[in-house]
Symmetry: C2
Subunit: 517 residues, 2 copies
């Protein structure tokens, strides 16, 4: 295991007490551990201290100790037989607004013992952050939201352990990364002020807790690391993402983007980091309501239009009959429509090119993406002009956010050596298509790197020794947060970006070229 | 308040959050406190963190904070209105085997708000340490002993608070000093091995706890400082005594003696300290069972014998009719008997000098100290030859302990610039009498200093800012403990000291002189 891990397992061999060395039992163990770990302070909870004399005698002064390394001191969590076969486990949690992912880890070697995901049970209260915050203002509202997520976590922890042949008591450390509101609701902190000017959380630096004090039933002395927030709109999930991407450890400047309901962006390197967040996602994840939005079986995630006959080709998830289209599919579709002249630079469907795919309904143009006979639903899968307008606004917002933050530190897009795209969005998006519609800058494709569920990966890293609490603090302290809501430059840039690919097409040479040929 | 106190009250004035400064509520408060206290770490329990946004708004960002200063970090305990009239109190506890003393303190100025004492409720299980340790080996024995002392403490804390117009929730810090076994029973630590070779406690370095976790019901976030032990026979009460005496801060070498059932001794100065403990007290506190032993109303604490007519004069506590004799009275009596030739150098009563005060009973000589008609009990108050033999052994043990520890560091008694005598024994003993029987060395009387209940005073100091946690650790780490049970020198010295004042009378020139005149 590496030097900066959170949980340590140490075997120590003590000389039994004698008249010549009558050091007290607990002091004897602590002294050996201090020497072994080269530390000044080791804290032991009273319930464990009470059992140590018996444990030392049962195990004949040869014991395996499980320790948690906090920022200021070490905590002894358990004393076992050195031959105890039970696994010392940790749990990484990605606490999403919609989906919660749990990963069970063997902390001795970092291997994954199991993984599970479940819908955030708070969805029954409200699908999004805003609805839940409003609910939390009601009598016992916060308590109910808190109980829902704790209930869900405890239930699935138990299941996951059972599946892996473990018990919850085998989990000695938990790390949790979520957005600011989810973290507040998990910790029972009132999110009321997050959505009210001047938009402040109860706290950003979360730190270290007894899991039991948070209401999580694993080992009674297990510690919980909660990833800190940078602000109301830049949460611990992004902090975990930064940790995982390694952006904070690199000499060269990179950018990290996570797109959900909000787009959250960090630009920086080992010396500095700047972050911002803005509403950019509705069209990508939630706006196409009629067609369905979430990735899932039968959802279109790739679209191609044959330049010869303008025929549509799809890829659906699990290769099932199409029943909807997800964010990456919509971006593909829009890029193809634009490239094939079926959509103009203002994002308007072009009747002359769309032909009989265009239908009029409620005084609005719709494009039939999949006809009723080909779809899984028995109905046309359509995209309305309004849907496409919404997409244009989203992509304009995204590009403006990226431009504003990059310019704010005096850089051009070309200075960004790597462009990390996090989240499920990042896993499915086709960067070429996103460039075609001017959503992301026209950089060489190899600079784009999808890093998957970086929130879960960051939470895993802090447990398995590839990232430490100290690094987490350094990231948190090193980030400058830029408020976009009060930024006039951002508004100007947003207007200019509402064209395909942009008012200034020379920013997208790779998009211009194919049109020119 | 001084710089090294445990509990701090700080008023802070925060600028309210704004769009230009949207630091989170808790972080805002922590930042201000860190600046104010020049510290790196401030820890806040979750239940308090949850309430901070509301408290800051109610008090309009002007608050008074109560903080506890631990060894590694600060702990925020409470956030109040700066005009809150409630007193911030602390509680010092002297946890004796027989008697428990509580002192309630105003932590803003160190003043005493109230004091109370009660018999240790564990007496119902056994009067002494040994009986209680044996009881703790039985099923649920430790739990019962623990519950008894916690029950007693909580009940008397409530009473003391009520008498002082406070509530237990006003107490934010507790410090407790007791011998090793009492501390173990209070903390629920198994004392089993304390009395079994090689005589080791569960732990010596007690440290810092939530009072609530120890079962003490005061403020839910109140911290408890438990004085550490040096070993099984040198407990936290002595540590507190050292802190109070200031022996550890002085350039000159001094000695501190506490006599209860054991005699506990420390010799040292600011550079080094050596400690030992030995059985020395039975005759002083418990041996005179027939006459009663504890100081109390009607108990003889001073004795004088008229050299002209050998008539006895007494002083009794509260000037009531005599009903017993306490340790200091016995020492006075023995010194007077020896000086007036009524007892020889081997401690034998001399019939020729004792006259009709001498009675024979069960083949043993007894001295009538108070006749039936003068006593409060209507019976003679007598001292038997066996009682006196026991006293001689006690005084020999005491002198040998003092001699062994002093010689062990290459000093003579004369190098000891101050001789602190702690405890109730110290408060009542007449040093001249103790010197006369050779119990303590023949030093100028002004070197003897009685320091009263130094355990309670030390516990007070650590709360009121005249001694810090760090100093406590330094004392603990600076002490070398010397085992007397395995010391042959001690046994030789003990034999030589079983004469009055000593086999070598030239060690006691001040005792020789009056005899010589």
């Amino acid at each position: 295991m590496m030097k900066d891990q959170s949980l340590w397992i140490r075997k120590v061999s003590l000389s039994p007490p004698s008249l010549k060395d009558n050091t007290a039992d607990v002091d004897r163990l602590v002294h050996a551990l201090k020497t072994e770990l080269e530390t000044r302070t080791i804290e032991i909870d009273l319930p464990l201290a009470r059992r140590i004399p018996h444990l030392l005698r049962i195990f004949e002064y040869e014991v395996a100790c499980i320790l948690f390394r906090g920022s200021e001191s070490w905590h002894l969590l358990s004393v076992k037989s050195p031959s105890d076969p039970r696994i010392t486990a940790g749990l990484a949690v990605d606490l999403g607004t919609t989906r919660v992912v749990l990963r069970l880890l063997n902390l001795l070697n970092g291997s994954v013992l199991g993984e599970t995901a479940f819908d955030n049970p708070q969805i029954e209260i409200g699908p999004d952050i805003l609805a839940r915050i409003h609910f939390s203002d009601m009598d016992k509202g916060l308590e109910k939201l808190n109980a829902l997520i704790l209930g869900g976590l405890n239930e699935h922890i138990q299941r996951l352990c059972a599946e892996s042949g473990l018990e919850p008591g085998d989990i000695y450390a938990l790390s949790l990364a979520g957005n600011t509101t989810m973290t507040h609701l998990f910790m029972g902190l009132d999110p009321h002020w997050i959505i009210r000017e001047p938009y402040i959380p109860v706290m950003n630096r979360m730190g270290l807790y007894l899991a039991e004090d948070l209401g999580i039933h694993i080992h009674p002395r297990a510690r919980a690391i909660i990833f800190p927030n940078v602000g109301s709109y830049f949460g611990g999930d992004l902090m975990a993402g930064i940790l995982y991407s390694g952006l904070n450890r690199r000499e060269e400047t990179a950018i990290l983007v996570d797109v959900g309901t909000n787009a959250e962006v960090v630009v920086g390197n080992k010396n500095w980091m700047i972050a911002c967040a803005g509403a950019a996602g509705p069209a990508l994840e939630g706006g196409m309501s009629r067609m369905g939005m979430m990735a899932g079986p039968g959802v279109i995630d790739r679209v191609e239009i044959d330049p010869a006959n303008l025929g549509f080709r799809f890829h659906t998830i699990n290769d099932q009959r199409p029943r909807g289209i997800c964010g990456s599919g919509v971006i593909d579709l829009a890029a193809q429509l634009f490239q094939k002249g079926m959509m103009d630079i203002r994002g308007r469907l072009v009747p002359a090119r769309c032909g009989n795919r265009l239908v009029e309904e409620n005084d609005m143009r719709h494009l039939v993406v999949v006809s009723a006979e080909d779809s899984a639903t028995g109905k046309d899968l359509r995209v309305s002009q309004a849907d496409l307008d919404s997409l244009i606004r989203s992509k304009a917002a995204m590009y403006s956010i990226l431009e504003t933050i990059t310019m704010a530190v005096g850089l051009n897009f070309n200075d960004l050596t790597t462009f990390y795209v996090a989240g499920t969005f990042g896993s499915f998006i086709n960067p070429a298509s996103a460039i075609t519609i001017g959503m992301i800058p026209d950089l060489p494709l190899e600079r784009y790197e999808s890093i998957g569920n970086s929130s879960l990966e960051g939470a895993t890293m802090i447990l398995t020794g590839k990232g430490g609490l100290q690094e987490m603090d350094e990231i948190r302290n090193g980030i400058t947060y830029m408020e976009l809501n009060v930024n006039q430059d951002f508004m100007n840039r947003f207007s200019a970006a509402k064209f395909l690919p942009h008012t200034d097409p020379f920013r997208f040479p790779s998009v211009l070229k194919p049109l020119g040929t």
